[in-house]
Amino acid sequence: MPPFVAEVAQLVLNGIMAGTILAVPAIGLTAIYAVLRFPNFALASHATVGAFAGYVANVQFGLPIVPSVMCAFLAAGLAGVVSDEYVLKPFRAAGFITTAIASIALTIGIENLIRFGFGNELRGYDLPLMRDWRFWGLRVGPQQVQNLGIAAVAMALLFAFLAFTRTGKAMRAVADNPMLAAIKGINADVVARLVSFVGMGLAGLGGMLIGLDTTIDPLTGFRAILNVFAAAVVGGLGSIPGAVIGALTVGIGEELCLLFLSPDYRSAVGFTAILLVLTLRPRGILGARAY
């Protein structure tokens, strides 16, 4: 491959890897928004909860990665149901701004609980560190490929759940038209709990996937939340395929800008692209509510 083509291909590949990981929590955020109608910033701390639950499973109980990732999903999902039921639900009557701000307070609270329990230091999963595979002048890490696989499987399961199961269809119905769904006898509270579980579970899974590639500390989720939010908004807040496309756009966009600019402008370029997309398509690439 000519060097320039290889360079572009490598950047696109890196962007796809980063974007796929980003897509998992972005789907969580957008699903919660679709049903509960507020941006839940507590996603950040739930990603951290997942990362730490996975850490406990992997390092302290010695479980392999895939079961640990499931633990991350379950722990963050359960934390999501509890925190939504007891903290955020009472705020929902006061409007979405109040709830969104309450979710920021909640995320800081949970983050500090984690800090209280685990301390501030960096932790790493018990994983063999492998050299990258090289082919056609490109390189890709075995760990990244595994992460990509986990993210892809999680997303496929979610799409199947929403498309083919009764509960999934009920969730889509509430997201689409809550009043009509209520008339049809769908219990909005149950759907709210379910979406909190799935949404925050995905956040936890995403948090662990980020941690697998790096290290974790109580700020793991907080560092990622801006990009997660950007991905969801670019794709169209409320649209699950949109979240995937948004995440890939942000991921690949931030990498490709390295062709022209110094890496310290990465976020600036990413977010300028977001402004551009939203100027042209104010409701995001796919628009809201496109399941």
């Binding site: 360079e7 960096l122 790493g124 310290d264």
Partner: protein
């Protein structure tokens, strides 16, 4: 709270404060000959610097106790007036005002955070009060302080220069520098770029990366494009951890070089040993071979006083010796005379008491400190200091050298 000593009851503090206010209100001429000399100490006893401040305070007091035991300065005992800067510029300014306006101290020793020093320094030079600090930001000594400030901490310029010299001495010919986006990034890269060629090496490229990224694969690709022999990681622990991992994955086997604060014990625990094998770490070091260091160690009763304790030792010694040399205790005398006792051709001395003896005999002295030679540039930066180098082997730092 104004304190004469670190441990003071509320009543003694009140008495002290009252007495201070009283002496402050009296015309100077009424003050009895032989009343104690008061030195101000403004150091973080709480906040982010709360670990270093109390230890620096102890080191300063230990030196001044020795000076008092040897007869004091100008025939007077030395007393310290201690204020807590709370590692907070706003609290520090209030405390400094108290030291300057009420206690009328000739010197304030001990500011730690750069933000605190930047806030307090203007009060000092305007009131002609001398200030000694450990704050490292280059901007501190660039303030228009007219000589009323010295710092014993190596600034970024000195550190980067020393790092470059060491890197070249390892035989690395092609060096790439990866810096986190921070105020020190560009100055460090500029300095390394200019020093390396003088030692037969070269900086083949540099980049500045954003913090808080979950991966630095593309940055690593950029860094490795020119096939460097050594990669200098000029960042903090969270990002350096990710980069060390990414460098390993990319197949880089050459040496990597980083500040000790970026490759901490926790980082070594979090990373598999193969990712950190051979990493060289560096940190400013006390001058452990100096007789002044041995004296400080004995005085404090600890085997290895650290960089902050030794710097505090040196401030108290420098200020005492300067007062003796100038035969007066005010900020202007300190600024005009400090370089007369710590650099030049005088007899080398390693403690305040030793120097005071020679000064009393009318001899010239050159104080060599526990933290380093204590020679200052015109703007108050130290000219030289030692660094400690470790090499990570099997996931543990192994001592290389102090140079």
């Amino acid at each position: 709270m104004t304190k004469k000593t670190l441990i003071a009851s509320r009543r003694t503090v009140l008495k002290g404060a009252g007495a201070l206010a009283f002496t402050g209100a009296m015309p100077a001429i009424v003050q009895a000959q032989g009343a104690p000399l008061q030195f101000g100490i403004l150091t973080p006893l709480t906040g982010a610097g709360g670990f270093d401040g109390p230890r620096m305070l102890k080191a300063m007091k230990a030196v001044l106790d020795e000076v008092n035991a040897a007869g004091g300065l100008l025939g007077r005992k030395v007393e310290v007036v201690v204020e807590d800067d709370q590692t907070n510029p706003e609290a520090a300014v209030r405390a400094a005002r108290k030291l300057i306006d009420v206690a009328k101290v000739p010197v304030i020793m001990g500011t730690w955070a750069s933000a605190v020093t930047a806030a307090v320094a203007p009060l000092c030079w305007e009131s002609k009060t001398f200030l000694t600090t450990v704050s490292g930001a280059d901007s501190i000594t660039l303030l228009p302080h007219q000589g009323y400030l010295i710092r014993t901490q190596p600034n970024n310029y000195l550190q980067a220069g020393k790092h470059a010299e060491f890197i070249a001495s390892t035989g690395a010919k092609k060096v790439f520098v990866m810096s986190i986006q921070a105020p020190f990034a560009q100055p460090t890269q500029d300095r390394i770029k200019s020093v390396l060629p003088t030692k037969g090496s070269e900086m083949i490229g540099a980049l500045i990366y954003e913090k808080d990224k979950t991966t630095y694969r593309s940055e690593v690709d950029l860094a490795l494009k020119g096939k460097p022999d050594l990669v200098y990681l000029n960042g903090y622990a969270p990002d350096v951890t990710v980069i060390l991992r990414d460098l390993y994955r990319a197949g880089f086997t050459g040496p990597r070089y980083a500040q000790s604060y970026a490759v901490t014990g926790k980082v070594l625990e979090a990373l598999p040993p193969e990712a950190t094998e051979g990493v060289i770490t560096v940190q400013p070091s006390a001058d452990v071979d100096s007789p002044a260091f041995a004296l400080a160690s004995k005085r404090l009763g600890i085997p290895e006083p650290d960089s902050y304790e030794t710097q505090a030792t040196d401030w108290a010694s420098l200020v005492s010796l300067t007062v003796a040399k100038a035969k007066e205790a005010n900020g202007t005398a300190l600024k005009d005379n400090v370089r007369k006792i710590c650099q030049g051709a005088g007899t080398k001395v390693y403690s305040a008491v030793e120097g005071l003896k020679l000064l009393a005999e009318g001899k010239e002295i050159n104080y060599e400190g526990a933290s380093g030679p204590c020679d200052f540039t015109d703007i108050g930066d130290i000219i030289d200091c030692k660094f400690r180098y470790n090499k990570i082997t099997g996931g543990k730092p192994v001592f290389l050298k102090i140079a």
